[in-house]
């Protein structure tokens, strides 16, 4: 079997963008082609396009050919659109990788784009309902902050995790995004500011939540052999793991403080890559809410179950700690344009693993983990990238 590598990567600035869905696609596509002058649109024979709800936010179904034409790509091997909610980008990476390692495509672009911000703010929240079990759960107005608040309540109830520990995740990730010009936020926040921010869904406050963000990101994949003419230090795709154990949130898990689906997905990804959690130097994980990152430390094996709160408190997920988590600022600091997120993680890790991450560089990073989650524990997607 061939091995797949990343040979080009680029993204838009994330944030409140004066740009249409198509404008975002063009901007990320250009940044990606600009990152490797050996590749032109005519060379790309596969496109996997990740986007969650352009049907709702841009009244645009069937977005993959829109993206292809916008970038001058005419796929002759693979064309697909991925919609797996917040994890779509990681799934697109996996589809691209499978096309490369099986020899079904030569050069595949994996692109993600999302237009989230629309004129009526409450409609953004209405759109969020479409991704859950609409008939039995989200029709009641249930949206992600409340879903993850239930998880936070269960974790606090069982392990004594505190609101201050949650807030420390926000402080860390907003501090990281100060060094990321592509991030939605660059101002940083203090613990006091997070703790005193307005309540959204108890116990989660405004700064415990990722923002609503527009953005797009893309990478180009090739086989190890094909990459030799294109780049001297590619980033290898070493492993993937995925699970989906339920769709209706009530069925996700009896104990809402744990995500066994993530644990299994991570174990599969580590095994495929031949590494252990202790080998991971840098991780981009799905901090859609602060509680998520804390549960993820545990399920990814960075600390013991129930010790996620002290892991952040003791600085173990920051520079100088055991593993640098979300150097980009994560979903909380960089932003979370759903379809683009898993791809943007790959872009950040492409830079980190090649020593090109500027002031937020994690020193000597060799193995990197990326994780996205769809719904509250509904799907988990884990990718391992690295240098060899």
């Amino acid at each position: 079997m061939k091995r797949a590598v990343i040979v080009a990567a680029g993204m838009t600035k994330f944030g409140e963008r004066e740009a249409t869905f198509r404008d975002l696609i063009a901007e990320a596509g250009k940044a990606t082609f600009d990152s490797n002058k050996h590749i032109l649109p005519k060379d790309i024979d596969g496109l996997v396009f990740s986007s969650v709800y352009p049907e709702r936010s841009a009244f645009q179904g069937h977005p993959a050919p829109i993206a292809a034409e916008t970038m001058g790509i005419k796929p002759t091997s693979l064309i697909a659109r991925v919609e797996c909610q917040c994890g779509s980008g990681t799934v697109a990476m996996r589809m691209g990788q499978m096309a490369i390692i099986t020899g079904q495509a030569d050069l595949v672009m994996c692109m993600g784009a999302e237009k989230v911000l629309i004129p009526v703010h409450e409609e953004i929240f209405l759109n969020a309902m479409a991704g859950g079990d609409r008939e039995w759960e989200t029709c009641f107005g249930l949206v992600p902050p409340a879903m993850f608040a239930l998880c936070a309540q269960a974790h606090m109830q069982k392990y004594g995790t505190t609101e201050e520990q949650l807030a420390r995740v926000a402080v860390k990730n907003h501090t990281h995004s100060m060094n990321n010009p592509n991030a939605h936020f660059q101002k940083g926040v203090t613990l006091e500011k997070v703790m005193n921010s307005k309540l959204i869904a108890s116990p989660l406050k405004l700064f415990d939540c990722c923002p609503n963000t527009d953005g797009a990101a893309a990478v180009i994949l090739a086989s190890e052999e094909r990459a030799k003419d294109l780049i001297k230090d590619p980033v290898y795709i070493l492993g993937f793991g995925q699970t989906s154990l339920a769709a209706t949130l009530a069925n996700v898990e009896k104990d809402w403080s744990s995500w066994p689906g993530l644990k299994i997905a991570a174990e599969h990804a580590y095994k495929m890559a031949g590494i252990t959690p202790g080998d991971v130097d840098v991780a981009e994980v799905h901090d859609c809410f602060t509680i998520s990152e804390i549960v993820e430390y545990e399920e990814l094996g960075f600390c013991k179950k129930g010790e996620g709160g002290s892991f952040i408190e003791e600085g173990k997920s920051d520079y100088g700690g055991e593993v640098v988590v979300n150097p980009s600022g994560g979903r909380i600091g960089m932003g979370h344009p759903f379809g683009a997120t898993g791809i943007a993680q790959a872009v950040e890790l492409f830079w980190q693993l090649r020593g090109k991450a500027g002031p937020r560089q994690v020193k000597d990073a060799r193995f990197a983990l990326a994780h996205t989650m769809s719904g509250m524990g509904v799907e988990n997607h884990v990718a391992i990238y690295g240098r060899v």
Partner: protein
């Protein structure tokens, strides 16, 4: 004539026989019963109700009462960021029922500050539009 509505703007399920094989759930609800399906082949009781059993793939199912009283496992009060068409505060809870089922439900007709973990809740039939109902729960008064 059936109540007309735009399904892309209205998240509540269609509840008539014409559009929904599970219309009996809503008929039962109008009678004040909270029900789901049980597989006649393997006995699996599932939430939400099914048309095909997720364990043995039989389509020979019957309706059973879940029971109208459950117990709160965890809850949250959502005070901001609620979707278009909804009004804050919204209280959501994971509620456990005797059949071993858990349901994620809104708590209605309930003061958010009175909700506690472990409290018992009882069924409320919410009339959400002219012809349609949805289940909700409220704190049980003894």
């Amino acid at each position: 004539m059936a109540e007309p509505y735009y399904i892309a703007m209205d998240p509540y399920p269609q509840q008539e026989k014409k559009f929904n094989k599970l219309y009996k759930f809503f008929d039962h609800l109008r009678e004040g019963r909270f029900t789901t399906t049980k597989c006649k082949e393997c006995g699996r009781v599932a939430w939400p109700p099914r048309t095909v059993c997720p364990d043995c793939v039989s389509d020979d199912l019957e309706w059973v009462n879940i029971g109208n009283i459950g117990k709160i496992y965890v809850y949250t009060v959502m005070v901001a960021g609620v979707p278009m068409g909804y009004k804050a505060p919204l209280v959501f809870a994971l509620v456990d029922f005797p059949l071993g089922l858990r349901v994620l439900t809104p708590l209605v007709e309930t003061a958010p500050e009175e909700v506690t973990v472990g409290a018992e809740v009882e069924l409320v039939v919410q009339q959400i539009s002219r012809d349609r109902v949805m289940p909700g729960f409220k704190l049980r008064r003894r």
